[in-house]
Each structure stands twice: as C-alpha cells, then as structure tokens.
Symmetry: none
Subunit: 131 residues, 2 copies
C-alpha cells in the first residue's frame, strides 16, 4: 500500500510539469534519443536530463544505451495506475455534469434571458424562400 502511494506520488509529481508532459507526448511518436528530446526546448541538455530522470524515477520512461546514444521510450504502466485512481471519482463529475445539464435546461441563464428580450421571436418571413 505504501509502495502504491509512493508510486502515485511520483507519477502525479512527474506529470505536474509542462516540459515533462511534452517529453511524454513526444515519446508517443516512438523512441527518441536524449538530444532528439532536448532539441525543441530552449533548455540545456542537463536540464532536460534532469526532467528525464524524474520521469524515469516515476517509471514513465525507460532508457537503453545503444553504442554511445541513450534512447528513451514511453513506459505507460504508471499512467494506468494514475488513471485508475482518478476513475474512482468519475461518478462525481458525471453526476455534476448531468445535474448541471439538467439545471441549465430548466433555468435559462440571465444571459439567455437578456438575449430573448433583445431579440424578440422573429415573425415568419413569408418572402424567405423555403429550403
């Protein structure tokens, strides 16, 4: 249980940064070398490597060395664990959105009411060609 909690800590912690999310998005396209991954960022290689280390510690990225080059690969398992955790709460947002939809269908907003006053129902225009 402790291990599970630590895993969620490190997964969510790793995802709480736009550069790390961008690295994961890039790895959706396939394996990439560290310099490929660093390329688009205005960041030093050590800074990108630091982000990669966080992703690797969280188990979200795996690395292998071929010759002199290190290749990174997406390791999606912790994302499944994170999604499973969040999914426990699905009933709450589904309920919220359903009840919001119900509410909106019953109570037109102030904005809609204002629109109705500004734009009284248009009389059918007999000159309008039928479509």
């Amino acid at each position: 249980m402790v291990k599970y909690a630590q895993s969620l800590d490190s997964t969510f912690g790793a995802l709480a940064d736009p550069t790390r999310r961008a690295i994961l998005a890039s790895l959706m396209l396939g394996e990439a070398s560290i310099s490929d991954l660093a390329g688009p960022h205005r960041m030093s290689l050590p800074a990108v490597m630091k982000h990669l280390r966080v992703l690797e510690d969280a188990g979200l990225v795996s690395q292998k060395k071929i010759g002199r080059t290190r290749f990174c690969r997406l390791a999606p398992a912790p994302l499944k664990t994170a999604e499973d955790w969040i999914a426990q709460y699905r009933v709450f947002w589904e309920r919220t959105f359903d009840s919001l939809e119900r509410f909106l269908s019953q109570h037109p907003s102030a904005e809609e009411e204002k629109e109705k006053k500004a734009w009284p129902p248009r009389k059918p225009n007999r000159n309008t060609p039928s479509r």
Copy 2:
C-alpha cells in the same frame, strides 16, 4: 492553452501527496468541516489547512462558511481534465492493434496540436533501433 497547462500542473501537483489524496477520499463521503478532515491525520490544523489551500488553488475543493464553521466539498471538474489528459495514453497500455489504429486515424487532439508547436516534427533518426 497556457491556462490548460497551468491547470494540469496544479491538478497533478495537488494529487502528488498522500494527505491531499486522503482528504479527497474523505470528501467522497460528503461535505466535511476542516476539523473533521484533520481528525484522522496526525497533523496540526494549520498543516491540514495548508494542504486544503493547495487543493482549493487547484480547484479540487471548494469551501463555504456556515456560522463559524468552514465546510469543504469535493470539486471534481479538474479530475476529469486530468483523466482526459491521461486517457490519450490509454492506447499504449492497452496495446491492441485496433486501438492503436483508431488512435492513429483520429484527428490530432488540441493537446497534440499544442505539443506539435512545442515539438516540431522530428526527423527520422536512422540510428533509432527497430522494435
């Protein structure tokens, strides 16, 4: 889009702590006062309030004051956004050919479009090992 990224930063950042996840789990049972929430934790009230502030800043908890008591409530919308983000990667853990095909045939999501801007198309790396 910046707002979306910041929102993901703060949601994932808020979830990266076991006390905060435990507070959210408590709020699954319904509204609770701050002292109710602090009860099960061996923590000072100010420490729990600090966690609640992080959750509130991330939009995951809302508070209202009734008399002298502050009640907290689960606000699930950011969890849906976080789940939607993670769900982009589902295909990688499901790893079925059908879902991969479906993924590739889909129009790029807003998130991918954003990532594309941040990450220009990578040149095929001839050194990339075939899988």
